[in-house]
Point group: C2
Chain length 242, copies 2
């Protein structure tokens, strides 16, 4: 059963209030790093796995991509993406990542932003990405960092209401985590960094970069994210099909 938390009205409403939803990519702490490691998008065929509001699709259009396909399991997300991207080059499809299919070697670049930690079988996503990408095509994805997902609490350790450190535990125990996000219970899947890299290598990718973005000093100041410089929250990987 694929998780479709974003069609839950309360969850969707809370998500809409996040800076990254209302303001778009410029308010996403990891965006500058993600963008800097994307290949050139001009003239390319792009697929966005879990496109959400469609911010990444829209960015690809602005960069002169030839075609952009965005898929998402949530109708509410797609409805927002339709508003944002208009009737241009973006083809939006209502589909789970696990179910999506297309012709072999039909894309140059596949994005996936903060979605794959909701997917139970990572290897099968990489296998499909490898099939759908042309040779030398690039998969570029972000997930919550394994250090962040390992404990279900996904919160700091406090003493007297003051943050002390990030509590790490259960790192090698991969699998489901029942976590709280935006006031709702959400299932995420914890995996080690080894698992990400090994799965990519097994599915015919070469590692092009492994990034642990921390928000820039400017973002930290603007958003008040001082503690975000204490432990990694995100992992970004770019991998090239051999």
């Amino acid at each position: 059963m694929k998780q479709n938390k974003y069609d839950d009205p309360a969850f969707f409403k809370a998500y809409a209030k996040m800076p990254r939803s209302s303001d778009g990519l410029k308010s996403a702490g990891e965006w500058e790093v993600f963008r800097a490691h994307l290949p050139k998008l001009f003239g390319k065929k792009i697929l966005d796995l879990g496109c959400g509001y469609g911010w990444h699709c829209q960015y690809a259009v602005e960069q002169g991509a030839d075609t952009v396909v965005g898929i998402d399991l949530s109708e509410k997300m797609l409805s927002k993406a339709r508003e944002l991207t208009g009737k241009g080059k973006v083809i939006l499809e209502h589909c789970a990542i696990e179910d999506f299919d297309a012709d072999e070697e039909s894309f140059d670049v596949i994005f996936s932003s903060l979605v794959l930690h909701y997917v139970a079988d990572l290897s099968s996503v990489f296998r499909k990405a490898s099939k759908l990408l042309k040779s030398k095509g690039v998969l570029c994805y972000s997930v919550e960092h394994p250090v962040f997902t390992s404990n279900s609490s996904q919160d700091w350790h406090y003493e007297n209401d003051k943050i002390q450190h990030w509590p790490l535990d259960n790192y090698f125990h991969e699998g489901k985590r029942k976590t709280k996000f935006l006031g709702s219970e959400v299932i995420k899947y914890h995996r080690t960094i080894e698992t990400h890299i090994s799965a990519l290598l097994s599915e015919g990718f070469e590692i092009s970069s492994l990034l642990e973005p921390k928000p820039s000093d400017e973002m930290v100041k603007k958003m008040g994210w001082y503690d975000e410089q204490r432990r990694p929250m995100m992992l970004i990987v770019t991998a090239t099909k051999r």
Copy 2:
């Protein structure tokens, strides 16, 4: 100034009592993973950066390596290595990793076991390894995991004398850590996983594996290492020269 802690008599004496010193590789928790990811050593020219007691050099000889060069900054370590490896194929040199040099493309495989977290400039080691390796040669190294080195305390968080979790903090603050190891103060250098991978890619390597070994259930039982399955302590990377 290169750190030569292993020639400090008290430190060396304490090190000699560690299972990995007295029993060798079979008592090193990460060895099975390290070994499994080594390329074939038969007929190869091997360099061991920071050879210590010489266990890895001796293993290479047993696997039929053609020549094995082990270097170490500690005379006491080299003296032990001389005892262990005898007058065979192992050439032992008294030299800091930072100062070692040899002809370009003169090695097939370079090892380094739990040493590079003592070295201030990681990129320069990778640059040298890239120079010394033949094309398609392999660098295989282990270090203490960034999650382990980030806090100077390098210890669990306890409540009422009971381990609660591993406290993670200062992850993005790379550089010196004054830590306690075997009762002595030791300087280690903390770096993120991103820094390891980016430096390897910049110096002309392809990532062949990234491993976060946990001791096997058998080792955990034998050594009583139950908490070692809660957070990663080691990072092993193998990288192939393009």
